[in-house]
Symmetry: C2
Subunit: 339 residues, 2 copies
């Protein structure tokens, strides 16, 4: 099969790899309908994470082509969506809704879903079938559910976005934008997008942002306080993962408020005493997308939300390298790869 491999930072190739085969009775194999490039794929692309002839991709939708003997919740021919972490969905951690930290959690990034086929471990616990074969126009939104929508949704839930709340969103990538959409769906009263890019501001407003703040860092925090009677936001979504963005999120949150952080931390160190006196709730990590998939698939199926709009560039799998370049150069927010 054809698959994306990152040989080294900046060196993305589409190559022939062996087709996956079922090795455990709980495995399934899917034929990808679409995959995509994640903001987190830019860390190794830019040399900030280690990479060495690494298969890429962890987001996926597609059709089941083969199942192991013990798979009973999906069948060959089903159109499925799964999370970027495979999970058993039966352990106490999964049952509490934290499937991304399942005691058997397996990162799909280690398999690489920017490919024609993908092996899905623990298929019963990982995959959710759609109600039927989706209209092609729904595929981008279903693909978004696999990570960026699920992650933005988790961030909004972790930040306790809801009625009466003012929610600020740090980060205007796909996850931050879909955190805005999630906050709107969860009933937030006011949603402040922190963004300085006109195209992303426009999508933020379309997804539900009521205010835009262009300032960053201390100036951004001051502006959020100014907009919230000096108190800070009730809820802040952090969707970047840098020291600056984390401190911006914590400092923009009022005492007793909630920070939902989903940007993968890079060289972040939190000062204990500042955190102590901030009085905020801090919760986040790799989003347990599986928890939200049934609800998100239904919202998409019913055309109540359109998260697929975050894809502003669509390329065939063979042109993945151009997709990486476009995201790296900020010419695209999120790139969909047709398979």
């Amino acid at each position: 099969m054809r698959a994306v491999v990152m040989h080294a930072p900046g060196d993305v190739r589409v190559e022939e790899r062996a087709d996956p085969t079922i090795t455990r009775p709980t495995d399934a194999i899917i034929r990808l309908a679409a995959s995509c490039i994640c903001g987190s794929d830019l860390w190794p692309y830019r040399g900030d994470d280690a990479v060495d002839h690494t298969p890429m991709g962890h987001e996926y939708v597609g059709v089941v082509t083969e199942i192991g003997d013990k798979v009973s919740q999906v069948k060959v021919g089903d159109f499925v969506v799964g999370s970027f972490f495979a999970s058993d969905n039966t352990c106490e951690i999964c049952q509490a809704g934290y499937q991304s930290r399942c005691i058997h959690a397996y990162p799909m990034g280690a398999i690489g879903t920017q490919a024609e086929y993908a092996l899905i471990p623990m298929a019963d616990g990982t995959l959710v079938a759609t109600p039927g074969a989706p209209d092609p126009e729904l595929i981008p939104s279903l693909l978004a559910a696999s990570d960026v929508l699920g992650t933005g949704w988790f961030a909004a839930v972790a930040a306790e976005a809801g009625p009466g709340k003012t929610v600020a969103v740090v980060g205007d990538g796909a996850v931050g934008l879909l955190g805005i959409l999630a906050a709107r769906e969860l009933g937030a009263e006011r949603i402040i997008a922190m963004s300085r890019h006109a195209d992303r501001q426009a999508l933020a407003r379309e997804f539900g942002a009521t205010d835009i703040v262009e300032e960053r860092g201390d100036a951004g925090v001051a502006r959020i306080k100014e907009l919230t009677g000096g108190y800070g936001a009730h809820s802040v979504i952090e969707a970047v993962g840098t020291q600056e963005s984390m401190m911006q999120a914590i400092r923009a949150t009022r005492a007793g408020g909630h920070v939902g952080y989903v940007g993968v931390s890079h060289d972040v160190s939190l000062d204990g005493l500042e955190l102590f006196f901030s009085g905020v709730h801090l919760h986040g990590g790799p989003a347990p997308v599986r928890r939200f998939l049934p609800e998100l698939i239904q919202l998409i199926w019913d055309r109540k939300i359109d998260p697929g709009k975050v894809f502003d560039l669509t390329l065939p799998l063979d042109e993945a390298a151009e997709g990486y370049r476009a995201m790296d150069e900020r010419r695209a927010t999120k790139v969909l790869l047709t398979v």
Copy 2:
């Protein structure tokens, strides 16, 4: 009046200071019935926090002797309990239950309540009157409500202790011990005290601990996991404030679980990536004791809880120096000063 002043680390004296006077119409003055020494007072005593001829003490119960013109919720003669932070109890932060981070919050430690009299700013928002003049035997428990009980209670609430939960408690000082009591009152199923001192283990059991773990650090974390099916505790109370205790608390908590941390952070730095992948909820800070005071006073008044048992040494105010020595040398868990 007589009052405790710490001249320098290890140098505690009882001296004559000017009686407090009302300067704002929202002030009150109380005559202390009792005060006490806090574990956090040991930080400057040991030279870990700056101290220079500093009035000491932030816990207090007593009788109102004078009120400003705008004080209406307490009157002269009332027996009152207050938090270690004065608060207006009307701003949005207070109304959300975070009075210790009130936009007008004032630390009582800056006034010093190890003294015969104390000025109470924002008396209406800070003080809660007891239903009547308390029996002398209730005074230690009411004094505990002023900080250590309220702080332990907040830690248990922040850690979401409750029915069906396994709660681990890091720290066997007065706050940790009262966190155990709080977890029991909140209905926790299992409460694991982390302690290696026989006398504190005994009090922990009396307050509701079902298990004792003597190991610390990584070994302590391993033991908590062993006791919880490999998952970690649902809820962990951190009541120390060091790097080791914070990491012990975070690592002993299962993914999706809750850490309630109330030990004042000293040189604590949290690695963003480890916190990210821990998947825990982190909440804490200076406890909003005022939120809990009405409920805690009632529980004490009805003799349903007896938090005053944490006081294992009672001394007259004039012997405060011996009280500091006894706590520093761990001869006493918590010292009550009669005034």
